[in-house]
């Protein structure tokens, strides 16, 4: 069991997400950075879909009441390990470096080196919360999944899933990916409804990231995008990665907790290989969109899948 001693806001239990229920209005939820989650679970010998903790802000202090291997991935939150006793010596823990903890030990994540970026804490066996509608992910908006359908708070107790392979000794950690702040994108279904000037702005302008961004969407500031003619669309299914443009003309990149149906024009969709970056784009920084072809999008995704396959194979070879 893991006891939550201290906990910053919006720390949630997530797996890779809830799929197949968008026709009932159920959002995807799940980790915003599936690559960091894959890395963490592969390092521990877990199923890639094992549930982890997603942190948006620190601190997070956890006490382990059983032996367990832990890894932190994503951005560096300045993490330390201690024996849990008063005046105990603290050892620092780097992202991507698994560590075997004995019962009674503690781990503390302070805060992200860059505010607004995310870290993931994974444990061998995964975090064992009930599976709700096929997933352990927390749907914060609807209030189900994860632990009691809410963000974690001090005093919570989390069960650890059973693991059958003893934790491997890993000689070295793995480096987190660095966001490029360039989101490659494909034209959306309403691309042609925007003016040529809007197209130019969309692809050329640095888009400022708004403080109002969250797990529902990345809200962007810049020179507004205009339509050729007012457009009234019938509501249709939308997906994470879709870039919709509400009446303000300021785009929103839909993220995992976004609603399932929308009526705003969509100018583009972020490619699958770049969606993980949405987890690490903090307010006051900016982001660019880069047009790519379907072939480039497919290549980028293939490269990412191959990277994870190679990582899995090389870790399996360490036995």
């Amino acid at each position: 069991m893991i006891e939550v001693l201290r906990c910053g806001p919006f720390t949630t239990v997530q797996d890779l997400g809830r799929f197949g229920l968008r026709h009932l209005g159920v959002s995807q939820a799940g980790v915003l950075d599936p690559i960091a989650t894959h890395q963490a679970n592969l390092l521990l010998g877990n199923d890639p879909n094992a549930a982890v903790m997603e942190l948006t802000a620190g601190p997070l202090q956890l006490a382990f009441h059983q032996d367990c291997t832990v890894v932190v991935t994503g951005v560096d939150f300045t993490t330390s390990i201690s024996t849990g006793k008063a005046a105990a010596q603290q050892e620092s823990l780097l992202p991507g470096q698994p560590v075997a903890l004995k019962a009674g030990m503690q781990i503390t994540l302070q805060r992200p080196t860059i505010p607004g970026t995310r870290a993931y804490v994974a444990v061998s066996g995964g975090i064992d919360v009930p599976v709700v509608l096929g997933s352990r992910s927390t749907d914060l908006k609807a209030g189900f999944g994860g632990l009691h359908g809410r963000a974690l708070q001090a005093g919570d107790a989390l069960a650890i899933g059973r693991f059958f392979t003893p934790p491997r000794q890993i000689p070295c950690g793995i480096r987190p990916l660095t966001p490029s702040h360039v989101l490659r994108a494909l034209p959306g279904p309403n691309y042609d409804a925007f003016t040529p000037a809007a197209h130019k702005r969309f692809w050329m302008q640095p888009w400022g990231i708004s403080h109002q961004s969250n797990r529902m969407g990345l809200r962007l500031n810049g020179q507004a995008l205009t339509l050729n003619n007012p457009l009234s669309l019938l509501s249709a299914g939308v997906l994470p990665g879709d870039v919709q443009v509400p009446t303000s003309g300021l785009p929103i990149v839909l993220s995992n907790d976004a609603q399932t149906i929308g009526g705003y024009p969509r100018i583009a969709s972020v490619i699958q290989a770049d969606i993980w970056q949405l987890a690490h784009l903090p307010p006051l920084t900016s982001v660019y969109f880069q047009p790519v072809t379907h072939a480039v999008a497919a290549q980028a995704r293939e490269r990412q899948l191959r990277y994870l396959e190679r990582l899995a194979a090389s870790l399996a070879g360490n036995d």
Partner: protein, 231 residues
């Protein structure tokens, strides 16, 4: 690649969304209201596709208003799905889906329906007439979205069509029965909302712990039943 209308079904527009999804538009771009016959075919199509999820490699099958979004697994060939839907569309039976008929008891007005009198005044009818019109109509679940179990119900009496609130409420309680534009709906959980609240139901619209999860599914029929007594 972007698919345009072709000779199989020239009235249907298909666009690819991102790498894995197709959006089928079954109504012309100029149409602001979906013909019930189009939506019925859409439900037929959805019911036909649902059992084939695994064999076709489909992850999401999301009916909208006169449109359908399909998200496939990344190994699925989208052109296959596109051809399958376009060739099947003209073969769909010209009849309504079976669906179910669900009755939802509603307490109109009072503390649980704070906008009832204002809406009635705006529609130039009495509150009693509003309740009668709202509770005698047979509604259809066009699609679900906005929040889990939130059904967009078509079939609202045109006399009750009014614009949505200028400023959405920050919190609409779960169970609120509301109207907005040409539609009516029940809020399954507490949320912000821009529709006019005319009543309240105790019926649970969404239960994530049940297998069915959502009380309402696309194509279902819904009738609101007036609950007597003070709210």
């Amino acid at each position: 690649m972007r698919y345009d209308a072709d000779n199989i079904a020239p009235d249907i527009r298909v666009t690819q969304i991102g790498e894995d999804a197709l959006l089928f538009l079954f109504t012309p771009a100029t149409v602001q209201r979906v013909a019930p016959s189009t939506q019925q075919r859409l439900w037929q199509l959805t019911y036909w596709l649902e059992p084939q999820r695994a064999s076709l490699g489909l992850i999401e099958i999301v009916p909208g208003m006169g449109n359908l979004l399909i998200r496939a697994s990344h190994k699925t060939l989208l052109s296959t799905i596109r051809d399958l839907v376009l060739t099947h569309w003209p073969q769909l039976p010209d009849q309504d889906v079976q669906g179910r008929c669900i009755e939802i008891p509603v307490t109109y007005g009072g503390a649980h329906g704070p906008d009832l009198d204002a809406v009635a005044a705006q529609c130039s009818i009495s509150s009693e007439r509003l309740i009668a019109l709202h509770s005698t109509a047979l509604y259809r679940v066009y699609c679900l979205g906005f929040q889990p179990g939130f059904a967009y119900l078509g079939g609202l009496d045109p006399a009750l069509e009014i614009p949505r609130l200028d400023t959405p409420r920050l919190s609409v309680p779960a169970g609120s029965v509301a109207i907005g534009g040409s539609q009516t709906a029940v809020y399954p959980s507490n949320s912000p909302g821009g529709w006019h609240i005319i009543g309240h139901t105790e019926t649970s619209l969404f239960d994530p712990t049940s297998v069915q999860a959502s009380l309402l599914r696309p194509g279902d029929r819904v009738r609101f039943v007036v609950m007597e007594g003070a709210p």
